[in-house]
Symmetry: C2
């Protein structure tokens, strides 16, 4: 297996790369979902799932019979990718159009969490991340539900971030004076008005 520095080295646009854990953690913590790449029975596949970071560990969960979780629990090579899109970048030339983004790539191998206390803590953290306080404002998992749920953990040791921010690249020569609008259009994700489920009556 290649050493971490090699595998997480950023080859394209290394100026956009970051290995600071504070930068990585902020992206991981803000994103609601990640994409997990692995080699499944039909070749490489990426599937979305929710995640939470606790310290240096990333936790994911799912049905105990999920194909992805079963495959990952065998300790195969995996990659977790997390992407936030911050803005559309419009330039005066088609070539310099871009997007502002913050992404993280984590290489590693997952292990299944069997310890009951750690498993319950990870499941609570998954809910707390989405809505602080919520894990105490619902019934916690019972034994049957715990058996039906797999929790996997994967270390953040081999993680790197890539970020594009700021305005479009300044254009040269005649391009700088083309009569086209250039700038950023921010993309913002917000929570709408809560819609209560029908009362069971």
């Amino acid at each position: 297996m290649p050493s971490p520095p090699e595998r997480t080295r950023l080859r394209r646009k290394p100026g956009r790369g970051h290995h600071d854990r504070s930068v990585i953690d902020a992206i991981v913590d803000e994103a609601l979902v990640c994409h997990i790449a692995f080699v499944g029975p039909h070749g490489p596949i990426a599937l979305p799932t929710t995640h939470v970071r606790v310290g240096d560990e990333l936790y994911i969960h799912g049905s105990a019979v999920s194909g992805m979780l079963t495959a990952l629990a065998d300790g195969i090579d995996a990659c977790v990718t997390i992407t936030l899109i911050d803005a559309l970048v419009f330039a005066r030339t088609a070539f310099h159009h871009s997007m502002n983004y913050r992404s993280v790539v984590v290489f590693g191998r997952a292990t299944r969490v069997d310890d009951r206390v750690t498993k319950l803590a990870a499941l609570a953290a998954l809910i707390e991340k989405v809505e602080p306080g919520r894990s105490a404002a619902c019934r916690p998992p019972n034994d049957k539900e715990l058996v039906a749920t797999s929790v996997l953990t994967l270390s953040l040791v081999e993680a790197s971030a890539k970020i594009r921010s700021g305005p479009p690249l300044a254009e040269d020569g005649d391009d700088a004076h083309l009569p086209y609008w250039a700038g950023l259009i921010p993309l913002v994700t917000t929570r709408g008005a809560p819609s209560p489920a029908r009362d069971p009556g």
Copy 2:
């Protein structure tokens, strides 16, 4: 290579699965980015990029020296995953918390677009998708820029969609009467006020 019906068959929660192209196309067209999974020099990896659908084809682009595009252009197995998150789903039990989402998984092998007309059309479509009319409101790629850009195409033939929508699962027995809020919190992505780049002067 497995036949399309086998590889795109949905094993987990098949009730959430869709193979209708109109359902798949709507998700592909709404999403600004996809994640592409492939096996790179260090194992499986998923990387984000922008995409556009034109008919039955998905187009992506990037630097001609991009590691991902170079690898994909060799015709290796790839998977393109597109995910939209629509709402947080809160239930009375931790176990039934979920998210409403719409996702698409496409299996296939990419090929490089060398034909100049098709390449220009794909690059214009990538911009048009983000902002209709914009490809005519900027300078189109010149020869040098076209050489520096790779465009790849991948068929949507082996695509499937998975969707969760609607309220939390109705809970049974005592769970239905737990004194906790249950319902949906919609997530909405909007465009903020445009921020013009500084005038080159």
